[in-house]
């Protein structure tokens, strides 16, 4: 594991709501979660970022008590998930990747059903149902079959069902996959609202723009936590040196040419341009231009830019992959 400054377990100030220590989950010979340690504080939006199969869902399922950890400890809302999953379940809301409400029940019936399971009754239930309907924008559609709702509505209804009992911690496993951009934005507004009310929101995603909304991010790769910190910290810390943007008329010739230069640590294609990581922009500028001219690639633009989260992501996963060959 790299010892970057980001690699620390810093929940910072405030009440700790989820604490994970050396968590390991193995399925046979396959290690899905490999010694992961972190903690979150109350009212935080905590993002889980990583490629598919990196162990995001497995970790969330362990925290919800759906899977048993092979070793290590996870404490959610003050209760150990392995020894007291029931106490944990009373205090969390969970929304899985797959839309998992009953398609053959109506909106209201689904809400009542989950309310019943969470033990929300009477006036409080109708108040919460009202809240959920308003939140999801489903007033007037209470009696529609859930199957007839479109993706964004279904997803907001699922969130409504998951938080009917006002849990202090909410786990959302890729909640926005397969939803249109507008609905995604609305959904994130809801998440921010909940966080302001003091709810800890645990959300996994592979959208970079969504990751920007999180207070803190944990970057997972092949079951390992390779970086942890606020998006801004990650962006700064991930790229060692300066990041330069290069626009050219021939990406292919350009990338071959600059990769041969000792000053260029890394070169990657971003859209129709190249992002180059160099030790120092001032020292690298001239050699790069020379090499490109030799390779008959015209420079349209070459300048220092601030790294984006995606740059950080690429850099971190690349260095993690280099540090440890594929098993």
């Amino acid at each position: 594991m790299n010892s970057t400054p980001l690699d620390r377990d810093g929940a910072g100030a405030g009440e700790v709501s989820v604490a994970v220590q050396d968590l390991v989950k193995r399925f046979g010979a396959f290690t899905a979660v490999d010694h992961v340690t972190f903690s979150t504080r109350k009212g935080e939006v905590f993002g889980f970022l990583g490629p598919n199969g990196s162990g995001k869902s497995t970790t969330i399922r362990i925290l919800c008590g759906l899977l048993r950890p092979t070793s290590g400890r996870a404490v959610v809302a003050g209760f150990d998930v392995a020894s007291d999953p029931e106490s944990v379940r009373r205090r969390i809301g969970y929304m899985s990747q797959k839309f998992s409400l009953y398609n053959d029940l109506t909106v209201l019936e689904n809400l009542r059903f989950y309310g019943g399971l969470y033990g929300v009754t009477g006036a409080r239930l109708s108040q919460r149902i009202n809240w959920a309907l308003r939140m999801a924008g489903l007033h007037g559609r209470e009696d529609s079959r859930t199957a007839t709702l479109s993706g964004g509505w279904k997803q907001r209804l699922a969130l409504g069902c998951a938080v009917l009992h006002r849990p202090p911690i909410v786990f959302l496993d890729e909640p926005t996959s397969g939803v249109d951009p507008l609905s995604r934005r609305q959904f994130w507004e809801l998440i921010q609202q909940m966080a302001e009310e003091g709810v800890t929101v645990f959300v996994s995603t592979h959208y970079m723009d969504e990751a920007e909304y999180c207070n803190r991010l944990a970057l997972l790769m092949r079951g390992r936590l390779i970086a942890l910190g606020a998006p801004s910290e990650l962006k700064l810390g991930a790229v060692q040196g300066d990041l330069m943007l290069l626009e050219t008329d021939s990406l292919q010739r350009a990338i071959e040419a600059v990769r041969k230069l000792p000053q260029v640590r890394d070169a990657a294609v971003f859209g129709n341009a190249l992002h180059l990581v160099v030790a120092g922009a001032a020292d690298a500028n001239q050699p790069i231009r020379a090499a490109l001219a030799a390779a008959r690639a015209h420079v349209l633009r070459l300048e220092v830019i601030r790294p984006s989260l995606e740059d950080a992501f690429v850099a971190l996963t690349a260095s993690a992959a280099a540090a440890e060959p594929i098993r």
Binding site: L66, E109, G116
Partner: protein
């Protein structure tokens, strides 16, 4: 706790009721099954297709043949002229037996020698053959006795009057007319109930697992027992409704008598349904896919029917299989069904069956609740 169970019950009912196909399949197929299978499942032997070859052409042979034809057990389709035809007819399965009277039959009878009637049976259906052979024997026996009495009357009327004779008085209890239907209709009720309840519940949990809703339920604070009870109650009510529907068909359509107490019938049915529900839910909790659930439940249904005494007597099974029948809830339930419908017996005789079903239900439901883990592993 009750609130959670209650929500579950409501939800299951809405789901069943809202699906028109499910609504249909709860009512129509059971009725059709009971009617068709009530008729199909029986071992009655009447009007067995029979060929007759009379090579004696005597008064005696014609008298004997008339008795066969009049008995109602045999339907004489073909009166043959040659022996060669018998082989053809039996080979093709056109007749199940052939009765052949050889030349000299009447003469043997008159001479008070041993006379004989020959019967050729198609043994393929061994049960029909065996019972038909019994009838042939009865008719021949009766004919011989009558013939002898006539003969004695003619030559020695005094001796005839004082001939000792042992007669058999048959007392077939519970089913005076020896109708197979009365035996099979309660058995069909039990089997149809089992198939319905099994197929409904075997899917109950695994379907939610496949759709993904089970994962959502697992993270709620519901307890495994609450979950199992919540899944049980709706199907229990549906099954009782089924029982009412098919019992009405049995009593009104097949005119099965209802000699016992309806209360005992309902109580026994409740225990039986709980046991079957337990098996169904157990299968559903351990299956990963609906296909697995279906295959496994078939593996339960099939032996359960075969070993229940539904149509095949338990007493003629090998000892090992007879022991196995004690694990079959349908075995007990059929005794209760036949006991209340046909025999009209009460709890003083049926309690062992109740005990057997209760033990089965408790064990299966408990194991189902214990096996239902709120984890994905």
């Amino acid at each position: 706790m009750f609130g959670r169970i209650w929500q579950f019950v409501i939800k299951e009912f809405i789901q069943v009721w809202r699906d028109p196909r499910a609504r249909f399949s709860l009512i129509v197929p059971p009725i059709i099954q009971v009617i068709i299978f009530g008729y199909a499942a029986n071992f009655d032997v009447h009007n067995v297709p029979t060929a007759i070859l009379d090579l004696d052409h005597s008064m005696e042979s014609r008298e004997l043949i008339a008795r066969f034809a009049a008995s109602g057990y045999f339907r004489v389709d073909d009166v043959l002229a040659s022996r060669a035809r018998i082989g053809q007819l039996i080979d093709r399965g056109r007749v199940a037996l052939a009765i052949q009277i050889l030349p000299g039959f009447a003469e043997d009878m008159r001479k008070r020698d041993d006379a004989s009637v020959q019967v050729i049976l198609d043994g393929t259906d061994s049960n029909t053959a065996l019972i038909a052979l019994g009838y042939v024997n009865q008719i021949a026996q009766q004919y011989q006795q009558d013939y002898r009495r006539d003969y004695l009357n003619r030559i020695a009327p005094l001796a005839a009057r004082s001939a000792p004779q042992v007669m058999l008085e048959q007392r077939p209890w519970y089913n005076n007319n020896l109708e197979d239907r009365l035996f099979f209709v309660p058995g069909t009720l039990g089997s149809v109930m089992m198939v319905m309840v099994m197929t409904l519940t075997a899917f109950a949990i695994v379907r939610e697992r496949e759709i993904g809703t089970l994962e959502q339920i697992m993270v709620t604070p519901i307890r495994p027992l609450e979950f199992i009870v919540g899944k049980t109650i709706p199907y229990l009510i549906i099954a009782l409704f089924e029982l009412a529907v098919i019992s009405v068909v049995g009593v009104l359509w097949f005119e099965v008598p209802m000699r016992g107490s309806a209360l005992i019938l309902v109580a026994g049915s409740l225990l039986f349904i709980c046991g079957v529900l337990g098996v169904g839910l157990l299968i559903s909790t351990v299956s990963n896919t609906q296909q697995q659930a279906m295959v496994v439940s078939f593996f339960f249904i099939q032996p359960a029917i075969t070993l229940s005494g539904f149509g095949f007597p338990i007493s003629s099974m090998p000892a090992a299989l007879q022991w196995l029948t004690y694990l079959d809830p349908l075995r007990y339930y059929l005794v209760v069904l036949r006991g209340t419908f046909l025999k009209g017996i009460g709890m003083d005789r049926l309690w062992p069956q109740f005990a057997g079903m209760a033990a089965f239900a408790v064990v299966t439901l408990a194991v189902a609740a214990a096996r239902f883990r709120k984890t994905l592993e």
